[in-house]
Structure formats: C-alpha cells, structure tokens
Amino acid sequence: MAYKCVVLVKQVPDTANVGTRTMKEDGTVDRAALPAIFNPEDLNALEMALQVREQYGGQVTVLTMGPPRATEVLREALYRGAERVILLTDRQFAGSDTLATSYVLQCAVERIGECDLVFCGRQAIDGDTAQVGPQVAEKLGLPQITYAESILTLNRDEIVVRRVFPLGQETVKSPLPCLLTVVGSANQPRPPSARRMLAYKLAAIPSEYPALLQRWPEFKTEEALDRYLVERDARIPVWSAADVDADPDRLGLSGSPTKVSRIDHVVLGGGESRTVPANPEGIAALIRELVQDYVV
C-alpha cells in the first residue's frame, strides 16, 4: 500500500520578518535585503507527505517552479527526507500569475506520472493568495481539500482529512487521487537530517557546476562532477517549458490574465506623536488624559 506523493513548494522572500533593518530610508521595504526561505506552510506540506510515506510506504517527489536559485529549497527538501526533487525553470515562466503557474505545475505533475496525493502549503507568504493549490487541483481534475490539518484515515480508495478554519473545523472524505493544501498547525516539520545533509552536500543543478568546481577543484571537469552526482542521485533534474510539453501561450506574461497596473509602496505615516515616560506616574497621567478626552 504505497502512495506516490508530490509536494509543490515555493521559495519566498521572508516577508514576515520585515524589521527596521530591511526598511529603506523612505519607509518602504528593501526586497533585496530579505532572505529567501522555504515557504513555511510548504514545509508542513512536505512533513505531511513524509509521514504518509513513513506510515504506509511510497515516494515523495518535491517540485518547485522558480529561478535557478530556488534549487536551495530543493536541497533543503532532500535534507529533510524527500527522495526526488525537480526544478522547473525557464525564462518563459517569468511573470506568471497564479493561473499560468498552476498550468505549468499541472504539466509537470502530469509528466511525473501517476500519483496518489498532491500536497501544497495553504498559501505562500509573499502573495498570500492561496490560489495555486486549488487551481492545480482543478487543472488536474482532482478533488481539493484545502486547510488540511491532519489525515485521519488513508486507504487505496479514500482519504479522510480534518480541515480547520478560524471558526470551526470539518471532516471530509475524498476519493484518491486528490490534492491537499496544508495549514501551519498541521505538524512540526522535521529538521534537516545531518546524515542526509552529508549525502546530498553537493546536490546541484548543472548550472551550478562551475561554482561547485571552484569549491571542489579535485573534480577537475564538469563531466567528472556530473558523473559523481548522477551516481549518488544528487544531480537535481531541471525541466523547461518544453520538457513538460507546456503550451507557450499559456506561460508567463502572455498566459497571465492579471496584470499589475501599479505598485504603491506603503510609507510609514508621520503623525503627531509624543513620548510618554515609562514609569507609573507617566502612565497614570496618560490614562487620565485619555479619560478626559473621552478616548477611554
């Protein structure tokens, strides 16, 4: 009773930790200063898939679409336990909105072949749209179970899942295959394993070979490095639009019905303000003032 699992993940700028250091003088965010991280709820999705594999057997394949740098999250997925990772990258993907992105992901999942469960995080912290999961499900013709917190039962024919909302919860039963979007409260993602970090230390996509050769000159040539990685299952496959047989008209800007018409930076307001002494007298005076002004 083994399950083929595919996990869709995204590398995102760490928008949750925008502090004073990552703000520019004009009060806007300095995107370049934000570190790129594994989208938090995608880690919960990966963990859920790994637990399915541990309990029932199967395979976990992790797929990401992004620039070559997104290989970082694929290495992290290998360290945490995925056995297969794939990078979807192509200049034609640039500028894709959620509709175009979900189309590319559909093509890639179809190229992977038969699968029983597709996992995604509920939403990514850069866009917070929560759209790609349901859109991939629709394109693959699969039922979707959004806000999934735990799998209660799983067998060949069906899955029972608890879904959670801010004001309630629900238990649903779905036939397989299906797609789940996983919430942050689902589990505690396991840390990278030291053993796997060693095993996949050099895991790379071919465009990273020149940089790797600088650090590991003993390989001498890219061919030698490539042979070494292939033997250890550590060459990360890269798929282009053509590799997944995607229709170019449905990719990138031309495949995206939504256009960004303008962007306004949020600038911190500079209203009148005053500093209240941080002592019991200062606080008591403030409260008296607020009472007098009918604020409280």
């Binding site: 004073t20 965010v29 509709l99 866009g127 349901p134 629900e170 019905p257 911190l268």
Partner: protein
C-alpha cells in the same frame, strides 16, 4: 450582448444565514454596476434557500440566479464550482466578486481556473478605471487593489483581456448599505447538473463556533505581539483589554507563536480594525500588521526597541518592557474607573 457589464456577486450562506461579506459585496456591486450602467446579478446556491432571495434583492441585486439542490446543502468545493463555472461559461459576466472567506478562497480559484479567468485574492478596495497596455486603452476595467508582499506594498491589479474580472474581497472593508425593502428584482432558477466526481467528496462532520471576539466592531483594541514574551504573559494583554472594555488583538507573530488564537489576528492576513484606541504591546509594527490598524484614531505603542517601526505611526510612544508597563496601565485604568 449577453452578460455585458454584469457584476456578479456570490452570496455565501450557511444554514440559511448570509455571510456579512456577501451583503457588503452586494452594496459594492451596486455601486460598480451603477457606474458601468450594468446590473448586479447575485448567485445564490444552497438547499431550500429561496427565502433568502428577498434579502439579496433588498441589498442591491437586480437579478438572483438561484441554484437550489440537495447536493448544495453544505458547502463543498466541487458541486459549487460546477454550478458557478457552468454559469460563467454560459453567460460571460464582466465582473465576478466573492468574499475572501475560507469558502470564497477555496471556491474562487477553482472557478477561475476552470474558466481561465484572472483572479485577485483578498482585495481591500475596488474601483473602475482605464488601463493602457501595449498601446491599447482598455476602458472601464476593475481595479483590484490589495496589499502584497507581506503588506509592504499596495498593488493594483487589472485583467485587461479576459472576462470575468474575478476577485475575492476581504471581509469588513466594504461598507454594507442599508437594505431597501422597496427594491424589486427578478429570480431565475438555474437547475444544476452534476457529474459523478462533483459529488464524490463527503462532509462527515462540520463544527462551527461563534466568534469569541468581534475585533472589527470594537472601539478599543489591546493587541499583543511576540514582545509580550510568552503565552502566560499574554494574560496581561487580556487584563488590560478587560480594564479598558476593549477586545484582544494580536500580531501574526504572536498568533504563530501560539500566544493566542488566530481569530484575534490584526493585519493583512487578519482583521482590519479602526478603533478609537489601539494599544500595541510588544508589536514591532511589520507593515503587514500596520495595514490592519493604522487607521485607528489613537495609537499607543509599547516596545523596548525605540527604533521599532510601530513608533512611527503611534501617537503615544512608551519605550519600555510590556511586563512592567502593562501592570501600571491596568492599575491606572482601574483607579480612573473608581
């Protein structure tokens, strides 16, 4: 032309009660349709929900498309998406709005994908305007305005070439108009046709609870961030809220840290509040938080870091430790109450 300038509103209902955001959207849809000289079409799905038609009309619908079917009793993605997708394909609306509730955010992308429409999530403002793209002017598009990038920017999104222009809209940001009992509208029954897979997912159990807090209606909000320190210390935030007769709010980080339940979250991914007084305790003031509270009339910020961004929008700055300052504040409030 069929569907020309129709503004569609999905009316979300559970157990015969319409979600407030749907009424807000009927009011907003009315405004947009008037500007476009079009009409508001409401989509009402459920089982034995015909009695809701009148209310939907009173809030602004010209036409109600009613899909009444036992399979639509409880919300499930696939049968609802089937009904909406079929209707969109058949009638080609100009604009289609849904509430950004858990249901709306589950349903809208499924429908948008099926009809290959552009969809913008969690809008906080909507306007009609022109757009120029590749030397062509597209008049009267829907400007879909939303915070993006963790709330650090405000993006205006348009769908120039495809209809419907779809968006989910955040709860509580559009003004709900007064119902007009004199309004008249038409009802059209649209019998659903389901395929086998549409009804294959079953709801075994559903529990909903009443909100334990009503942040949006609160005139005083006392909110805590990770700077409060711990789940235990968060009791101080509750105590001050109680002393001031306000509601408890929280930053996303405090919710993520488990100090308090998600329904208390204020900010881009939580509630938008405009209280008379907002007390930010140990909240650094990430833009995603400020997006939900910067319209408050008076803001008191308490933080140990004098450089914390929250101080840039605060009216009263208290540089100090929440664990010290809050007890003083609680005592001062109780004394002033006596």
């Amino acid at each position: 032309m069929s569907g020309d300038r129709e503004v569609w509103i999905f009316v979300e209902q559970e157990a015969g009660v319409i979600a407030p955001v749907s009424l807000e959207l009927l009011s907003k849809g009315r405004e947009l349709a008037d500007e476009l000289e079009g009409r508001v079409v409401a989509l009402l799905l459920g089982n034995e929900v015909e009695n809701l038609v009148e209310q939907v009309v009173h809030y602004g619908a010209d036409v109600v498309l009613l899909a009444d079917h036992p399979e639509l009793e409880l919300y499930r993605t696939l049968p609802y998406a089937r009904v909406l997708g079929d209707l969109v394909r058949e009638r080609g609306p100009y604009i289609f709005l849904l509430g950004a509730t858990p249901t709306g955010r589950d349903l809208a992308p499924r429908v948008a994908s099926a009809v290959r429409a552009g969809l913008t999530a969690d809008c906080t403002a909507l306007r009609i305007g022109d757009y120029e793209y590749r030397r062509q002017v597209y008049p009267d598009l829907l400007y879909q305005i939303r915070p993006a990038f963790g709330g650090n920017v405000i993006a205006t999104i348009v769908n120039p070439e495809t209809h419907p222009q779809m968006a989910t809209v955040r709860e509580g940001v559009m003004r709900m108009g007064e119902p007009d009992a004199a309004r008249r509208g038409a009802v059209e029954r649209v019998p659903p046709q389901f395929e086998e897979l549409d009804v294959a997912v079953q709801v075994l159990e559903r529990e909903t609870r009443q909100p334990t807090c009503n942040l949006r209606a609160a005139s005083i909000v006392v909110a805590g961030g990770v700077g409060v320190g711990s789940r235990e210390d968060f009791a101080l935030v509750r105590e001050l809220a109680q002393a001031l007769g306000g509601e408890v709010g929280a930053s996303r980080a405090a919710v993520d840290a488990g100090f308090v339940s998600p329904e208390h979250q204020v900010g881009q991914t939580g509630a938008t509040v405009r209280p008379r007084l907002y007390v930010a305790c140990g909240i650094s003031g990430a833009v995603q938080h400020r997006a939900g509270m910067d319209q408050s009339s008076k803001i008191i910020a308490i933080n140990t870091d004098p450089e914390a961004p929250i101080f840039q929008i605060a009216h009263y700055r208290i540089v100090g430790d929440v664990k010290e300052v809050l007890p003083w504040m609680i005592r001062a409030c109780r004394e002033s109450a006596n």
